[in-house]
Subunit: 400 residues, 4 copies
């Protein structure tokens, strides 16, 4: 056992950290101003500017293990980079490592035809377009994929798509050009063979963005979570991914790496909140004593450190398992990190808010929005309860 990062990972981490110090942290204020100044759904000019610099610095498409198109990092090697990007909510895009594009690129890389890759994977890897993943539906508990109601019906050389999706993250971006859409091709098939996934260009007629869905009052612009109607949306049959009835299989396959990314970004969120808490309590005095000297403050800082370090190690371990024994064998671990990381980030940001007094509630320290984001992950990809059920069943199965 060895807790040292690989040389390759350390090198990337060092260069990424330097880039953050030079280009990202000093621009946090500018990002906010640009975003709030003009069209909230257009990307601040800062992003394109920094993307150019990141690419020049060799910090581009760092994800995508087992592929020549990425940086050649394993999941474990990539994980600490994700943590760093998690420290500034918009920074992953600078390195073309933002969700849901990463998951969509992985899906295309793994399951796409050469033509699908040429048409969609390449511009995504170039960062010239963005994409979204249309799975969750408003009318059913979508964590149970068998509940999905949207339909994908073959009609000659096309598929015709109907359904209502929501929480389609990233669909708000003016640069979004592609949906990966999940629906049922055969509602009469066995439960996990009913679903398929298909590529739907954003401009296809019949797609209506009904509204954006705020998270605790935040619109998360220019990314955004959208409710979308697909009415008689017709795409070429060649847009189907992998084959009819294989949607559930693809959904399972894309799960693992995305969880690592989400979880590590949340570790970054928690670390940053802890830093802010430390700085704040050192700067404030109440009732004659520095707040940093209060033992209740020290306890929360200590608990934050304990939880963060534990959660990070758990994610590293899951990444290592994915790299060595594969997603399927690691499925309990992949479920566990979602719960642990979100729980940790929620608790640490909540304590950080409390340490900042009322200033923690507004965006002067970007803590309330960090909490909202962390809280949303307890529901994203299925509520924690579904994952705990699965983990519990896998544990019970060890004792036949």
């Amino acid at each position: 056992m060895d807790f040292e990062l690989s040389a390759r990972s350390k090198d990337c981490l060092q260069r990424l950290g330097a880039f953050m110090d030079e280009h990202v942290y000093p621009n946090e204020q500018r990002y906010r101003e640009e975003r709030d100044a003009g069209d909230r759904w257009a990307e601040p000019a800062l992003i394109a500017e920094l993307q150019k610099k990141a690419r020049a610095a060799g910090l581009w498409n760092l994800f995508l293990p087992e592929s020549t198109r990425g940086a050649g990092l394993t999941n474990l090697e990539y994980a600490p980079l994700c943590e760093v990007m998690g420290r500034v909510v918009w920074s992953a895009e600078v390195f073309n490592c933002a969700a849901p594009d990463t998951g969509n690129m992985e899906t295309l890389e793994r399951y796409g035809t050469p033509e699908q890759k040429r048409q969609w994977l390449e511009p995504l890897l170039e960062g010239t377009i963005r994409s979204a993943f249309a799975m969750t539906e408003p009318r059913v508990a979508s964590s149970d994929a068998t509940n999905i109601e949207s339909s994908i019906v073959r009609d000659g050389g096309s598929y015709v798509i109907n359904g209502r999706k929501w929480w389609t993250s990233g669909a708000g971006s003016a640069r979004c050009r592609l949906f990966i859409f999940m629906g049922k091709t055969d509602p009469g098939a066995p439960a996990h063979r009913q679903q398929s996934m298909i590529l739907v260009p954003r401009e296809t007629p019949g797609i209506t963005i009904l509204r954006h869905l705020p998270v605790f009052g935040y619109d998360d612009a220019p990314h955004g979570h959208m409710e979308i109607e697909f009415r008689d949306v017709r795409v070429p049959a060649a847009n189907l991914l992998l084959g009819e009835g294989r949607g559930f299989e693809i959904a399972q396959g894309r799960l693992g790496p995305g969880r690592i990314h989400h979880a590590m970004r949340l570790i970054g969120v928690a670390e940053r909140a802890l830093e802010k808490m430390c700085r704040r309590v050192k700067a404030r005095t109440a009732f004659g004593r520095p707040v940093a000297e209060q033992s209740v403050t020290l306890e929360r800082i200590a608990e934050s450190r304990i939880r963060i370090d534990q959660a990070r190690l758990l994610v590293y371990k899951a990444a290592w398992l994915m790299d060595t024994v594969g997603n399927k064998a690691a499925r309990a671990d992949i479920a566990m990190i979602k719960i642990a990381a979100a729980d940790t980030a929620c608790q640490v940001t909540d304590w950080a808010i409390q340490a900042h007094g009322a200033a923690g509630l507004c965006e002067d320290f970007e803590l309330a929005s960090a909490y909202a984001h962390a809280r949303s992950i307890r529901l994203a990809d299925g509520p924690d309860e579904v994952h705990r059920n699965q983990i519990g069943r896998l544990e019970l199965a060890k004792h036949p």
Copy 2:
């Protein structure tokens, strides 16, 4: 001991409930639409419309115990009405029972001169104007009143006010006409004799509203929490409340009833969230079973019921103590209810969010905003930590 409400309280409660059923719940959607349609800081027309009806129904100024100007209810009798109003965030204003006006009216009633009452208390009781309370400051831990930096300096027949305030709730309203302002008249006096309170008309020159402060992304319009600069703001000396150096005393005096109101409204928030959770879990099925049948769901509902009922009783007891032995003897209880009610409302709304899946995060069920509001109360009026410290010290003092 007797847990039955008084006849007077029950009668009011019955009439209030009927009014809510007839005029408030059916208009929740309309309120949102009106608020979001035009100037967010103007009140929706609905409010004035319902205020007229409420007044006609004898549901007006229900607070204000020990005064002929109110409804003649004790704190304990008024408490359950507050809970009902807490169920719809904007409804208290319909009955002219909204914070911070209630606290300001109580302050004027208790400490104002006849002229101050004529000029400000009367229009407030009429509901023709609104008011705000300018106490918290951005640069210091304001829960410790000795930290306050704003100054109120006598200059001939006037006082000249300087300082920066924030989280001045209600200052966003287009109808806000009055600030009750806390500052130091004598920084050299003993710690709790330095502060004074003074009445500052909204239009006085030198007042600049710098920005509104969102709570978790919500602007809480048209109420709003504002950051305000007071620069050389000059008001007549007669605007001082009670006398120089008595600001801390007034602050203490106004605390009690406000805490009861806040706490009971939070009980209402929690009850409504629990209702929504119950309805949701009955309507949803996942993995072949109604979510309502899951024992984890039942556990959360049960814990919610236990916590809510306990917190409500604690608030009732504090109100009863205020009515029978006074604020000072009840000060530990008044501190306790703030903590218990906010904690309960946070936990129950969080569970309700989780039960709604992603729908809990946006405003379709108004749960995320309810959480944000409950969360903010853990900081309003001083962070919970300050109150727990006080409660702890009072407890230790019982064992000399």
Copy 3:
């Protein structure tokens, strides 16, 4: 609403408190010494001595509402007395108010024939004998009464009893003379008509006490929890309570008051632990500061006060409901107090242990045993989970 105790209750409380001060607290050490010196299962001589004094002081059989045999107190009036007795684990017996005798006496009073009362209720009320309640079985989840396996079979003028019971509390006492036994008379009847209860004299042939069951290492002598075999135990048919198939009904009927007693005693446990914690932290210094000055200490004391006060009010409310609308209408409340009181007592005693350092683990402050007792109540009378399920279902039923 009124939180003042009735004059009768206050008078009893005052006299009980005086008795505790004069006779109980000063004898805690003596009790331990007597118990540990001789036969652990014989009662320390102190008990009989104090019982005489208590009776002389009119502090005898204070429970038993709605009966001329008791003190004529309602459940609500009796509740605060229970809290006081809970402060010293053995003190309830001094006033002939100890479980399970109280529950057994109530059962006999409510459901017994005149002859059953003469034979068993009278000596129990005199305190000349003690009793036990044999319900829980080792082989099944006994919280679900339909799982009960013991049999009660009619054979001529007798019933023949077979079964294995455990956690039969009080069966360890040398003075125990009676078991109230639950078993099935008709396993083929509808689920809640299969069970019956029957009176079994301790000396009946066929009863073997197999072992005593410790709770966290405590034998709880001379009370004790026993595992008992009943093999072909033959008692007169007249010993049956109420009638065949009515065991479940009796079990339900005896539930309410016992819960109030248990819960209020736990409040007493928690109050005493909090007192000990306060005294301890005032007496100790670490790293240059009194432990009482640490904010983490103050927070725990404050939280203890908040939780205790809330739990007490919840129990009072449940008692009031039992007195005014009856056990059935109050069944959710009766379930709630078991959870809330045990939870509170566990948390407060745990914090008190921590505040005492290693001294909290041994019996110098009787805190670890207090924790063990409180912890056991989370399982007694059915695990909390069963009660939360019931509370949850009752809540859901409000939203049809």
Copy 4:
């Protein structure tokens, strides 16, 4: 980074597991019977019998890194073995790896003179004697070493020792022959140069064992925690360890490995409790459904798995740091694992108790004693609060 155990560690682990399967688990009942049958403070014959087998199997003195006297394992390599031994509370002694002997042997190895090693280390390594560590005192908060009141006074060629110690674990064993005693040689020196450690043979006149101290009612025989009076105990001056005023330094030095051992054994405790919980819930049915199917059960199992895996990784990381950068650089991590492991073991055993119903409270499943043990670790070596304070301060120091 790599989560694979070293070949040496895996080999030991495999052989240790096989030994446990063959010789330890099948003898758990026999151990209890032997212990409870005769003199509780004499070791069951089983121990010596198994020690012989363990030695023959090359499973002896597995601890003691960086020494030719041990098995040559690093802290990290030894850690997983500790977890396995933690699964059966008495098993570490079988492999001569039981506390406090391990800590005492490490202390002797690191700080002892050749003569001290010959006299005490060798028989300890042989397992022919046992030892204890006399540090904690009843009258002061001993987590703050500057509070220590015991004295070690030079008198000619001897030191004379006076003081009262308690919670001296292992002093109950009939085979205990040595105390390592902490006291002050110079109360006037700087705070951390006042203390010294000295070797005190058990038979030295003036040593009186006053009583054993139970933990939650368990005497932990034949190990036991003792309160001991040292009155004018005279030992040769050569028995001093390292030199006058170096006691604090030795105390710091011995801390690290002991924490790893304690923490990993607690992981073992938690794992075993989780196994028992899984088996139990699969075997029981209540209200018509297997308890294993209840989602509240699955949630607890899942949370247990998440917490255990996280805590284990945290301990591994701390061990790795100790091996690579040393105790001092790892001091925050060493403090963190004590908190995380005890917290995890307490929570998991508590849930396991609850899952077993009343059976969890007695020793049929050895869960209540496991809880008591885990709970005691929250106080052993200084209460968690002291460690959290230290961790908090180290964290704050990162943000100067």
